[in-house]
Symmetry: C2
Subunit: 450 residues, 2 copies
């Protein structure tokens, strides 16, 4: 293993991977603690640039709920040298995409452009992140846009369900809150609070600039140094990856959001592993076999054999100090109890008996193929290297990741399934559907969460 | 131009493009009229295989509404040599994706796999399309899945809005119907009807097998010939592209779907061009400037200046004999009238004054970049060549497409904008939102559709 990003000496560059197919992954630590990581991928014709900031909604004080995401919006409303319209015009003129997203532990500003427009992409991303004006009037206009975004989320049963589920699992813990904030917190947000959040949180030492595509590392460095010249000073070194202390809990067990919908939307799940847990590769295998593919137990039992859902899957989320495994299904309200029972049975089965040899093999094959197919475009490669650097201060190649999955044994998965899914542990659940009170929910749903 | 696909002699192969970067696009017409078109794209590590069938929901008789899509589902439920579970297991084992979609004029069965799994991909796609069993019991199980799919669509305001809008624009015309059918038509669908639809409609002469990725045309042909050996006989030649006779109309003007949603979801639009209309490149430029990007007039006026929506865009659809341009926005119900007015004003402005020189240039740049960035992965390339062959019996390279956009003049766009968008023409509209009757809709919405 190469030296972790936060221990690499400022001013130096390391080659992290050179698999022999022309690709090279390099990391440079610049003065001030900014890390630049790039994947040169000859044969592609585009470039993806992402500035990852190790700040998200969990870093907000309660009265500033939604600030990280609000700030992300406002930074596009104008910089010292560009109006919002000019920013939009410049990226549209080259047919590129310039956007951002905020999660609970990260914020990422990114641009995806034709390779010859790399300089513009680096300039625009740096401009919004470092030189935004955050004007009072723009904060007010954007307030309305964010209130629309919240209303839109509330109109999408699956999005609403995700929010309700994480509330059910984590209760009042800061991770249980929505990244969007609440209508109330958004209405009360002040420009000065956003400026303060930006000033305090957007430090170079908490940032990773990730670039992938038909680029060279030298060119990326030249562009970054030119653009950020005044800022690349000081003795700060990169921050270590965010580490949690414990598995936070604060569960409500069962959350209902009444909605006049055709389907009842159900999410069931359990706390799982942090992103630093070495068993996460075994968990990936377990999830693939459980509900990750069309041959998975949940898909086969619920959709193929019983026709109870159009969409049914399991998925994983991980944070620095916790994580969860969840199952989603949308079904007719009169079938909701049956679906909950089948999910519980499928989880019990795997908790008791683990996976078959064939399932284990198939899950590994599935992860291997998905890994390769999921890294075809430069945006996916950029995300992979940026997120990995911020989360682990490390790079794991496709081959290394695959080797970690391949090394998982049936015993590893069985132990984990037993620990996480055993029938004695109740499930957390959220339902979005046409029920006024929790009492109206089918008995089976209330039982699996009891 | 090379000879069109339906006029190419069976048994022959033509090179359609060889841009000099290693890529080659070739077309072979096989006995029986099946066309095989491939794009060899060295440097990629995957293969995408799509069997495009020139059949969609507009080919259904009214009592079979939803049959094309229902059939697409049922074909995956088992073939002469594979159960549904085995199909799912085989594709999961290599981490690939095997799926299909149905539209109004096409059905496409596709697989996306690592390049070394090309043979499996061709085999699976051919197996479901040609050798499915269509068993009574599977039709019954899948009936429930499709009813769930319809319910899910009804719970998504934006999906529901699209359906309502095309109903508003085309009324009772077959194109105005949902691809999914109705709950009633699905409940009554018989296995024998699906078998009949399959037998009558799935002829080799109406199919294009498109493959893109790290493959050779020779290898694709070898696999197809081996898999379909008995079927590749007879004197049938490829069908000519679907041609329409007129611009069908049957408009209702304004359709409301009552929904207890937070936002009011609005779609406004006009009939536009068929896919065979040469002015479609000018229309693409117009759409880009109107609502295709973040610097577009609609995005700037509605989101950036007024904060009236989180999502607002215009988009195009085209069929063999009609097409439309539509505008979407989601907003608070009390702002719906204002949004409708601003949309109408923006359309009026461009109908009267066309685009500025800067907008014209920017729209072309946007389309150029999007064209390149949108063809990075092998799935996108496969879709491009397959759809183009079915729609036009022709291949247009990225460079040729770009040249067509570049040749568009401000005058072309101005004439088209005047013809399609002039204020004297009323708009068709759909609203999904918390209104019981059309009378409750804001006056402005009723006015723009009057």
């Amino acid at each position: 293993m190469t030296v972790p990003g936060h221990l690499q000496r400022p001013g130096t560059t390391k080659v992290l991977d050179r698999p022999g197919d022309g690709r090279v992954v390099r990391r440079t630590v610049l003065p001030g603690g900014l890390r630049v990581i790039s994947e040169q991928a000859p044969g592609t014709r585009s470039a993806s640039v992402g500035l990852w900031v190790g700040v998200g909604s969990r870093d907000e004080r309660p009265n500033l709920a939604g600030a990280a995401h609000y700030l992300e919006h406002v930074l596009f409303k104008g910089t010292r040298t560009r109006s919002a319209t000019r920013i939009a015009e410049e990226i549209d003129a080259v047919g590129g995409e310039l956007n951002a997203f905020t999660s609970k532990e990260h914020t990422c500003y990114y641009a995806h452009v034709v390779d010859s427009d790399l300089a513009l992409a680096v300039d625009l991303v740096c401009d919004v992140v470092f030189d935004a004006v955050i004007a009072e009037s723009d904060v007010d206009t954007e307030r309305r846009v964010i209130l629309e975004e919240i209303a839109m989320r509330d109109d999408d049963p699956e999005d609403l369900l995700h929010e309700a589920f994480i509330g059910a699992l984590l209760g009042s813990h800061v991770l249980g809150r929505s990244v969007l904030g609440t209508s109330d917190s958004i209405r009360e947000m002040r420009a000065s609070s956003l400026r303060g959040f930006h000033r305090r949180r957007y430090a170079l030492s908490h940032m990773v600039l990730a670039v992938a595509g038909n680029i060279t590392h030298a060119e990326v460095l030249r562009l970054v140094r030119r653009r950020l010249t005044d800022r690349l000073t000081g003795a700060a070194t990169p921050a270590a990856p965010r580490q949690g202390r414990a598995n936070p809990r604060g569960r409500d067990g069962l959350v209902l959001r009444t909605d006049d919908s055709e389907q009842a939307h159900l999410m069931l799940g359990v706390p799982a592993l942090t992103r630093h847990d070495d068993r996460r590769f075994a968990l990936g295998v377990l999830n693939a076999a459980l509900g990750g593919g069309v041959s998975s137990r949940l898909f086969q039992e619920i959709r193929e054999r019983r026709g109870l859902a159009y969409q049914v899957y399991s998925s994983l989320a991980s944070y620095s100090d916790t994580g969860h495994l969840s199952v989603y299904a949308g079904t007719q309200p009169d079938q909701l109890g049956q679906v909950a029972t089948v999910v519980r049975e499928v989880l019990d089965d795997v908790a008791v008996g683990g996976l078959t040899e064939a399932e284990l093999l198939r899950a590994k094959g599935q992860l291997r193929g998905a890994l390769l197919l999921g890294s075809e475009d430069t945006s996916a490669r950029m995300s992979r290297i940026g997120k990995s650097e911020l989360n682990y201060a490390d790079y794991l190649s496709l081959e290394q990741t695959q080797a970690r999955f391949d090394a998982v044994t049936g015993e590893d998965v069985a132990l984990l399934a037993k620990e996480l899914l055993a029938g004695t542990r109740s499930l957390s659940a959220a339902v979005v559907g046409p029920y006024e009170h929790r009492d109206e929910l089918p008995q089976e749903v209330r039982e699996v969460t009891a």
